[in-house]
C-alpha cells in the first residue's frame, strides 16, 4: 500500500466551484498527497463526518485529517456544522479551519469558541491557502508530503 493511499483526506465544505479549484491548487502547491473531498452544503458535511447515508462506508469515505468549512452554506451554516462536530465524540477533535467573507468580530469569536483552529478571510488564493496549510503542518496536523 502506498503512502498516498494511507493519507486521510482533506474535507472541503464549500458551495463555490471556483473556490474548490483554488483548494486543489493550494494542496498541490503545498506538496501534500492527501486527497481532497468536496461537499457542497452543511447537511452533506454532517452526513460525511458522521458516516451516514451515502457516506456510511468508511473505507470509501474516511474521516478527514483537516476540514475547511465555509460559514455561509446552504441547509446548515458552517457554525452549526462546527457545533455538531464538537458535540460528536467520534469527530470532536478534528481540526477545522473556518472560511468566510465576513469580517465580523462576532463570527470570528464564535468560531474560536467552538474550537476552530484558524479563521480565514476570503477570497482565498492558492498562495494564502498554502500558507495556512504550511502553518498547520507545523502543528502536526496529519497532512502528508510527497512520498519518499
Amino acid at each position: 500500500m502506498t503512502k498516498q493511499q494511507l493519507a486521510p483526506p482533506i474535507l472541503v465544505v464549500e458551495d463555490s466551484p471556483d473556490d474548490c479549484t483554488i483548494f486543489e491548487d493550494a494542496v498541490r502547491m503545498a506538496r501534500l498527497t492527501n486527497p481532497i473531498r468536496f461537499v457542497e452544503d452543511g447537511a452533506e458535511a454532517v452526513e460525511y463526518l458522521c458516516g451516514e447515508g451515502d457516506y456510511a462506508d468508511r473505507s470509501l469515505h474516511p474521516i478527514p485529517a483537516l476540514i475547511f468549512l465555509d460559514i455561509n452554506l446552504p441547509k446548515l451554516n458552517g457554525l452549526e456544522v462546527l457545533q455538531k462536530i464538537r458535540t460528536n465524540p467520534d469527530i470532536m477533535g478534528l481540526p477545522v479551519v473556518m472560511l468566510t467573507v465576513s469580517n465580523s468580530d462576532e463570527d470570528v469569536l464564535r468560531s474560536y469558541e467552538l474550537g476552530t483552529v484558524v479563521f480565514i478571510q476570503k477570497p482565498v488564493t492558492p498562495e494564502n491557502l498554502t500558507s495556512v496549510i504550511q502553518s498547520l503542518q507545523q502543528f502536526e496536523v496529519q497532512l502528508l508530503g510527497p512520498p519518499t
Binding site: N72, P74, N77, D107, G115, Q121, V124
Partner: protein, 297 residues
C-alpha cells in the same frame, strides 16, 4: 527602487564579520553581510525596532573587554526572502566608532569592513578616541553619550514600563484572523499568547482590538512585525513577540498602554498573567444557539 538608491549613498562592500549586538539589556551575536561608510547590514536573532539606538561590539576573540564599539540606529527591517537580502536582517545607520586604544584599531576595522573605500589616513590621537561617520572625523575621548550631529546631548526618553494584561485580540497574519491573548505591551514590543498557528518571523501583522473590549479603541488595529516565536507542544499553541515601531503602528501606543493600565487597575479580580492559558484547542462549552441567517456572511 528610488528609495534603495537614496539609501545607498556609498558602495556596499559584502563583508561577513562577527559582532555582539547590544540593545537595551539584550546582548546577542550578530553577523554583518555588507557595510558602507554610512551603515551596516546585520543578521541577528534580535531585531530591535526601527529607530532603536544600538551598539555593536567588535569582539577580540571571545573577549569584548576594551573592544572597539560602533554606535548607530536601526533604520529598517528586511524580511526573510527579500531578493537583495534573502536571509533578512536589519539595516543600521552608523554614527560613530570608539576605541580605548587610539585610532589604529578603528582604522583596521574600517579597512576590514570597507576594503579600499576605507580612509587611508586618520589623525593619530593617542589614547581613547571617537571616530565620527560618515566623514571619519576623529576626536579624543570615547564620547559615548553624544550623538554625532546633535549640538546638545540627547536625553533618552524615560523608559515606560510594559503593561501586563490579559486581553483577547485578533492577530491578522496574511489572510488569517488568529485569536490570541495580549499579555504584555510596551512602546517597542507586545507579546501574544495562545496562537493556534505558527506565523513566520519577520512577517507583518495587524493586531485588532475587539469591539466593546476597551473604551476608545473599539475595532482599532495597530501594525507590528513578528520578532520571535515559541511553541508549546503540550497545548499546540504559540507565543509570539512582536516588534513595534511606535511611529508606524498606526495608533498612539502610549495612549493604548494607558488605557490598558487603567483597565487593569479597575479589574483587580483578573487572573494573574502567568496563569493564563488560552484554550481554544480544548473542547469549548456549548453555545446556546449558533443559527445564523445566511445573509450575514
Amino acid at each position: 527602487m528610488g528609495m534603495d538608491q537614496d539609501r545607498r549613498r556609498a558602495p556596499r562592500i559584502p563583508k561577513l564579520m562577527r559582532f555582539v549586538l547590544l540593545w537595551k539589556r539584550v546582548e546577542e551575536g550578530a553577523f554583518s553581510t555588507d557595510a558602507s561608510r554610512y551603515g551596516i547590514f546585520l543578521r541577528s536573532a534580535v531585531m530591535p525596532p526601527v529607530g532603536s539606538p544600538i551598539t555593536l561590539l567588535v569582539p577580540d576573540g571571545d573577549s569584548t573587554d576594551n573592544c572597539v564599539r560602533l554606535y548607530g540606529t536601526v533604520t529598517r527591517h528586511v524580511r526573510r526572502g527579500d531578493p537583495m537580502n534573502p536571509l533578512g536582517g536589519i539595516g543600521i545607520e552608523l554614527e560613530r566608532i570608539s576605541s580605548p586604544d587610539g585610532v589604529e584599531p578603528v582604522r583596521r576595522l574600517l579597512v576590514s569592513l570597507l576594503s579600499n573605500t576605507a580612509p587611508t589616513e586618520m589623525t593619530n590621537i593617542p589614547g581613547p578616541v571617537t571616530v565620527f561617520l560618515p566623514d571619519f572625523r576623529v576626536e579624543g575621548g570615547l564620547d559615548e553619550e553624544t550623538s554625532t550631529n546633535a549640538t546638545a546631548p540627547v536625553t533618552p526618553e524615560p523608559r515606560v514600563e510594559p503593561v501586563k494584561t490579559s486581553f483577547t485580540v485578533f492577530c491578522k497574519w496574511r489572510n488569517m484572523i488568529i485569536q490570541a491573548e495580549l499579555c504584555s505591551l510596551s512602546m517597542e514590543q507586545t507579546i501574544l499568547k495562545g496562537l493556534t498557528v505558527r506565523p513566520m518571523v519577520g512577517d507583518p501583522v495587524h493586531i485588532r482590538i475587539l469591539s466593546h473590549q476597551l473604551q476608545g479603541f473599539d475595532g482599532t488595529q495597530f501594525a507590528a512585525s513578528i520578532d520571535q516565536i515559541s511553541y508549546d507542544g503540550l497545548t499546540d499553541q504559540s507565543t509570539v513577540s512582536l516588534a513595534l515601531d511606535p511611529g508606524a503602528a498606526g495608533i498612539d501606543i502610549r495612549r493604548l498602554m494607558d488605557a490598558l493600565r487603567a483597565r487593569e487597575e479597575t479589574a483587580p479580580e483578573a487572573e494573574p498573567v502567568d496563569t493564563l492559558v488560552q484554550t481554544t484547542a480544548e473542547m469549548p462549552p456549548p453555545l446556546p444557539d449558533v443559527s445564523k441567517g445566511q445573509d450575514d456572511d
